[in-house]
Amino acid sequence: MTGIPSQILNLLAALLLLLTFAMLGQRRILSLINLFMLHGIVVVASALLIGYETSNHHLYFSAGLTLAVKVMLIPWILHKLVFRLKVKREVETLINVSVTMLIGIVLVIVAFNIALPVAALSSSVASGTLGIALACVLLSFMMILVRSNAIPQVIGYLTMENGLFFAATAATDGMPLLVELGVALAVIGGTLVVGLFMFQIREHFDDLDIHNLETRKED
């Protein structure tokens, strides 16, 4: 496809990258969740677009699934958690934001370089976006790494999933439906389990700050 749609797709990809950066820099948990929601929406949009363009319709389905899970269900759960567990709204990062950003830039470059040869011979419509997907993955990895609180870590994890989904759609026009289903289920299950698990953490430690979880080590 050429012209308008691919430009739109690239736009969405760029948006995705921007959002990821924003999440990387975001201290306040609630707005982090909102950003995550937006993130999901962008992914869904791109999926729909590709599905429309390449007219393989199971992408619609998986887009819908993602919408349901990542845009509605999970953010809702997270909101609930934040209120139920009285997580403090501001969470400091381990490394200060500007440094994080710089490293992020580097990662993006790395990701593009890695993706280049692959993208070159990808038959897909949106092969150029693979690099961005990869960047998203790495950035969210980074995000999990620098967050010192359980909930942002989970969000980072889910963002990663988004990145992966985007990669799947962008690079290969979507995985087979069955797999998509399985992945989605796994993600839901994971979120639920972790949600419950948060309460346990809360029982033992007065908050979800993972500094509490650093006792088991070699001494």
Binding site: V118, V179, V183, N212, L213
Partner: protein
């Protein structure tokens, strides 16, 4: 044959559901054992079928079994069964000690079955996507099982496990996608680009650049589950803080399944790349793991931690061996995989009871098991001797093969292995000796300890050391052939 495979897969799933629905009954452990037993028998029958009639696809193309994965599946079902036998008295004692409540017992048993299900699914699925899903859900079940004591330490261990292997598994998914991408060029956009059988058949046509990228992500992803250094950090915590049966299955099963996945992908990557790079990566990871684990052993104060490091060491050894490749090395690797999961789980059985007797997991506080309960003490001593690669146990034969092959293939690596093995020997033997011998503080147990599984495992390891039955031999040879391609 479909029904057999279905039986293998459905029994544990059914089991977990029933155990959830039943709630906690006094008989729950026995039910658990029952389901595991059925699974085991079914898997053995399946194995026999497959060995007799060669690899086969089931239920359309969704599942398939060849001598490699059906063998590991049988092993998994077996260890799962014996471990359920062990966990019967063990968990009862834990409950009497007040560490478990009825609700937790319910959770424990259902999750145990679910874990078995995910393992078997991952092994038998023909679709790498489904395999990924199975692994992911295995992560979740283990998360619940490890944290089942609800102690601060166990929660922490579980959380670390979740984050680390969650991230790892996500990377593995990316790897899967990339592999799909690499294959898609050959197959066109179709679901069957994710099927082992097709990938195997077409591995020569996989697009090299993408495949290598995919393999990196898959190696890091599933390597995390294997416990390869430096992605191993979750493993000691999870082993030490979870209930001992879980430590046993983690060491005995999870590592194998992850290794199985890596092996499959290595086969594909080798076919696509033709430059031996995957092998080199495995060798590198293997050596690093072996060395780091061996030297970390001596700092451990917690007995389960110590043996979990020994698991890392042995996984590293296997990775190294499979990395070296070639029929003999692969044979040795498979043999090592078998005896390691037998012996290591046996060790955890004995360690579990020993800790219950002594009321602690601290090595320094466990003394004189030989006096208070000769069987457990002797089991622990024999097990450790076996894991240290002393004859007449099977680890000796596999390590003999591994070392001699290493000398042939990479003479420079052999001294490193020797060094690591020597250090590991020094540490483990001295610790175990001080636990088994000397004067004692330990006390007798409420329920009679489960010695049957312990000695079954040791007996099998002994058998494999002295005499490998031709049937098993043929089996190993086929499996090795599948891996080496």
């Amino acid at each position: 044959m479909d029904h057999l495979l279905l039986l293998v897969l459905v029994t544990p799933l059914l089991g977990s559901i029933t155990l959830v629905l039943l709630g906690h009954r006094e008989a729950a452990p026995e039910i658990n054992v029952g389901f595991s037993l059925v699974t085991f028998i079914a898997s053995v029958l399946l194995a026999v079928e497959v060995i007799a009639q060669g690899p086969a696809l089931f239920i359309g193309q969704y599942f398939f079994a060849d001598s490699l994965n059906v063998f590991i599946a049988a092993l998994t079902a077996f260890v799962g069964m014996t471990t359920s036998l062990f966990s019967r008295p063990y968990m009862r004692i834990e409950r009497d000690n007040g560490r478990m409540t009825g609700r937790r017992m319910r959770l424990y048993h259902s999750m145990y079955q679910l874990f078995l299900f995910t393992m078997l699914l991952a092994l038998l699925s023909n679709n790498i996507g489904i395999m990924w899903v199975a692994m992911e859900s295995a992560t979740l079940t283990v998360l619940l099982l490890v944290s089942i004591y609800r102690t601060a330490a166990s929660v922490e261990a579980a959380w670390k496990y979740f984050i680390l292997s969650g991230v790892g598994i996500a990377l593995a998914l990316l790897g899967t996608i990339l592999l799909y991408l690499a294959a898609a060029r050959h197959f066109g956009i179709a679901g069957d680009a994710l099927l082992w059988t097709n990938l195997q058949a077409a591995k020569a046509y996989l697009e090299p650049a993408t495949t290598s990228l995919a393999f990196v992500f898959l190696l890091v992803g599933y390597g995390t589950k294997m416990g390869l250094v430096p992605m191993h950090s979750w493993l000691p915590d999870a082993h030490a803080e979870g209930p001992t049966p879980i430590s046993a299955v983690l060491s005995g099963l999870l590592l194998n399944v992850a290794l199985y996945a890596v092996l499959r992908f290595k086969g594909l990557a080798d076919g696509a790349l033709q430059n031996g790079l995957p092998g080199k990566m495995l060798i590198g990871f293997g050596l690093v793991s072996v060395l780091v684990a061996a030297f970390s052993l001596s700092r451990q104060k917690d007995v389960k931690r110590m043996f979990s490091y020994s698991s890392i060491e042995h996984v590293g050894l296997m990775a190294f061996t499979f990395g070296v490749g070639g029929p003999i090395a692969t044979y040795a690797g498979l043999l090592h995989m078998t005896v390691h999961s037998l012996v290591k789980s046996a060790i955890f059985f004995s360690v579990g009871h020993a800790c219950q007797k002594a009321g602690t997991q601290i090595i320094a506080d466990i003394r004189g098991l030989a006096h208070v309960s000769p069987t457990v003490g002797c089991g622990m001593m024999l097990g450790s001797l076996a894991i240290l690669g002393l004859p007449p146990f099977g680890v000796f034969s596999s390590e003999f093969l591994i070392l001699t092959t290493a000398v042939r293939e990479l003479p420079w690596a052999a001294p490193l292995l020797i060094l690591a093995l020597g250090v590991a020997f020094a540490t483990i033997f001295s610790r175990v000796q001080s636990m088994v011998f000397g004067d004692t503080t330990a006390k007798p147990l409420a329920h009679s300890p489960a010695l049957l599984p312990l000695f079954i495992h040791l007996g099998l390891a002994l058998l494999l050391g002295l005499y490998i039955p031709p049937y098993m031999h043929a089996w190993y040879v086929q499996a090795a052939h599948i891996i080496t391609g």
